[in-house]
């Protein structure tokens, strides 16, 4: 294979990596906000599922993908509110609340979808303005003259759907909010030591609710991405475990925004590789089976958790409901 062809292969792989990472990035950042504030969110999967469903139905009924995104965010916020109510106000077990939401989403989407469209939980196929289309960024022709970068710009940076760009903008935004604003400082503090935040006269409950709600918004966009950008409609259980992979990526990223970007891109890359090159032959000696590449994200997460590569320390007060006085 000559140089130009292999460069093109590389670009295609990167292009696919970007597409596959987007839902993971958004879900991972959602988890980041929530867990940084001390609320474990295992319900990412469920929130993505319900928002994928709502975005598909609303986009189909109104023929507007953007309205679909709004509906997705609204639905995801309702789920977030339930999670907040159970785990913040009533100090319930956060894991159980999250699992319950996952089951609720899994059942609700199919039952309601079947009642509305009689297609076994599937929504009708979206067409035209009901789904997002690729945007071609300007300056492609200008950059085309620059040898390596020109192709990179045209193949990898340009030609994605709107939510892709939103997702990549959310990463620095998250970093800025968490590490450069007063709200972010307090949010991180409430995940480490809520008692001291409370002593300073700041409402723990309000901070945690806002973190959970931000997570809801991000999950909503992630779900809408699946149903209106990657696919053209909702299918039963279409999130297929992406919420859990996002959680794994969050641990892998040690609860940091830019690490999260790196982790999700890595997981996206692994999926792209398994899609493009199912069986990788190593020096004609043996094949790496595709299952290994697919399992690698989980293997890596376990390795990180076990403390072999650095140490992943979760927020100290994570998972514990805050009780003002004992």
């Amino acid at each position: 294979m000559d140089y130009a062809a292999s460069y093109l292969q590389l670009l295609l792989t990167m292009d696919m990596t970007v597409r596959l990472s987007v839902a993971l990035i958004l879900a991972c950042l959602a988890g980041l906000f929530s867990e940084r504030a001390g609320i474990f969110d295992i319900g990412l999967e469920g929130k993505m599922l319900i928002s994928a469903f709502l975005s598909a139905t609303v986009a189909y009924e109104t023929n507007s993908a953007w309205l679909g995104v709004l509906a997705a965010i609204a639905g995801s916020l309702v789920f977030s509110a339930i999670h907040g109510l159970a785990s913040i106000t009533f100090r319930g077990n956060q894991l159980i609340s999250g699992v319950a939401l996952n089951f609720l989403a899994s059942g609700l989407t199919v039952v309601v979808g079947n009642a509305w469209y009689h297609q076994g939980g599937r929504t009708p196929t979206l067409t035209g303005a009901g789904r997002f289309h690729e945007i071609t960024l300007p300056f492609i022709d200008t950059f085309n003259h620059i040898p390596v970068f020109g192709h990179f710009y045209a193949e990898v940076i340009s030609g994605h759907k709107p939510i892709v760009y939103i997702a990549f903008l959310v990463v620095p935004l998250t970093w800025w909010i968490l590490f450069r604003t007063r709200f972010g400082l307090r949010l991180r503090a409430v995940g480490e030591n809520p008692a001291s935040v409370d002593t300073a006269g700041i409402s723990v409950v309000r901070l945690r609710y806002s973190a959970v709600m931000i997570a809801g918004v991000l999950c909503g966009i992630a779900g809408a991405y699946l149903a209106t950008s990657q696919a053209a409609g909702f299918g039963r259980e279409m999130t297929a475990g992406r919420g859990y992979i996002a959680l794994a990526a969050l641990i892998f990223a040690k609860w940091r925004p830019f690490y999260a970007l790196g982790a999700t891109l890595l997981f996206g890359l692994l999926e792209a590789i398994s899609n493009l090159y199912p069986n990788i032959n190593v020096f004609n000696l043996f094949d790496i089976p595709v299952q290994f590449t697919q399992a690698l994200p989980y293997i890596l997460t376990v390795v990180i958790l076990a403390g072999f590569v650095g140490k992943a320390v979760p927020p100290k007060a994570g998972g514990e409901p805050y009780v003002k006085e004992r």
Partner: protein, 329 residues
């Protein structure tokens, strides 16, 4: 009070047996769901046809998790439904147990063999139909590269892939076939997003005809093929209508015929092996107004020739499941 309960209880028991005496047939759909636009939906068409023709009723159950399989079979058998049809290989282990406990009930399992005296095992020669799809794909492809996307990586799906590759190679020996499996867990049947990405990956490698044997995941494959302007091939049901002008044809596994026959035979149905293939109309390809324009006479001639060859025995299509290997790659 307790006396009342006894009376009510026995009354309901009588009512229950009265209902059970009707011995309606029943069908249990596998996890893809009744409306998967593919395998299970084909089964439901067969049941619906029987109902329309006879005017009688049947019971149906859709599963929401794998754990419900045995429970669903048991419940239908207890209610006196006979025969009970189930769609999918995954029922095999549950049926082994349940069939022994209800020796008087007849069971029909599609896509799998269960050796019990009261079970009819319906299997299809998918390799024959897939061979035809390979011929059509090779004829329609301009790039010389065609793709296959399977659902869950199981021998049955490899059987599809193997037949397809044989058809392609027999028609155009130098053509390349790219094969992908969606995954190794049952969620591989329900992941249109991944199906779409796999299609894009295959297109990037030059494929211009993609054959999807992947249940609900195939919806994403067909969608992306239509978006990107290449041909796709549907499976199980006639999927030509999903994207007219893009779905080249569909490999039809007449699951509906299997279900219809089972319902029609009723409680006295013949058990044992039941193999459906091209020769007895259990396997076929779809040609209708949606693909009439793209399914050119040249393709049709080649496919029909291959079909005749298989029926007459001149063309032997290797069955992957007979030795778990495929002679061509």
């Amino acid at each position: 009070m307790s006396f009342m309960k006894v009376i009510l209880g026995s009354a309901s028991a009588v009512a229950f047996t009265a209902v059970a005496a009707f011995a309606d047939p029943a069908i249990v759909y596998d996890l893809g769901g009744k409306f998967d636009k593919s395998f299970n939906e084909a089964a439901s068409h067969g049941a619906a046809r029987w109902k329309k023709e006879t005017g009688k009723n049947f019971r149906e159950i859709e599963l929401s998790s794998a754990a419900q399989r045995e429970q669903a079979l048991r419940r239908l058998a207890e209610k006196g439904n006979n025969p009970i049809v189930m769609t999918g290989f995954a029922f095999a282990s549950s049926l082994e147990k349940v069939a022994k406990d209800f020796p008087k009930t007849k069971f029909v399992i599609i896509d799998m063999v269960v050796n019990q005296p009261n079970v009819r095992s319906v299997v299809f020669k998918e390799q024959e139909g897939s061979y035809l799809m390979g011929v059509a794909a090779a004829k329609a492809s301009k790039s010389g590269t065609v793709g296959f996307i399977g659902g869950m990586d199981i021998p049955l799906i490899r059987k599809f892939a193997c037949g397809y590759v044989q058809g392609v190679k027999a028609t155009a020996p130098n053509d390349k076939v790219i094969q992908n499996m969606t995954g190794t867990t049952p969620s591989a049947w329900n992941d249109p997003v991944k199906g779409s990405e796999l299609t894009k990956a295959q297109i990037a490698q030059g494929a211009d005809v993609v054959y999807a044997a992947a249940g609900g995941t195939g919806v994403g494959v067909l969608q992306t093929a239509a978006d990107e302007g290449i041909y796709s091939i549907g499976v199980d049901s006639n999927q030509n209508y999903l994207h007219p002008g893009s779905v080249l044809t569909s490999m039809m596994k007449r699951v509906d015929v299997a279900v219809y026959n089972a319902f029609k035979d009723g409680p006295t149905l013949k058990t044992g092996f039941n193999v459906l293939g091209l020769a007895n109309g259990g396997i076929d390809y779809a040609l209708d107004k949606n693909n009439a324009k793209i399914f050119t006479p040249e393709i049709k001639a080649a496919v029909d020739a291959a079909k005749a060859g298989i029926i007459s025995g001149k063309i032997k299509v290797h069955d992957y499941m007979s030795d778990n290997s495929c002679p061509v790659k």
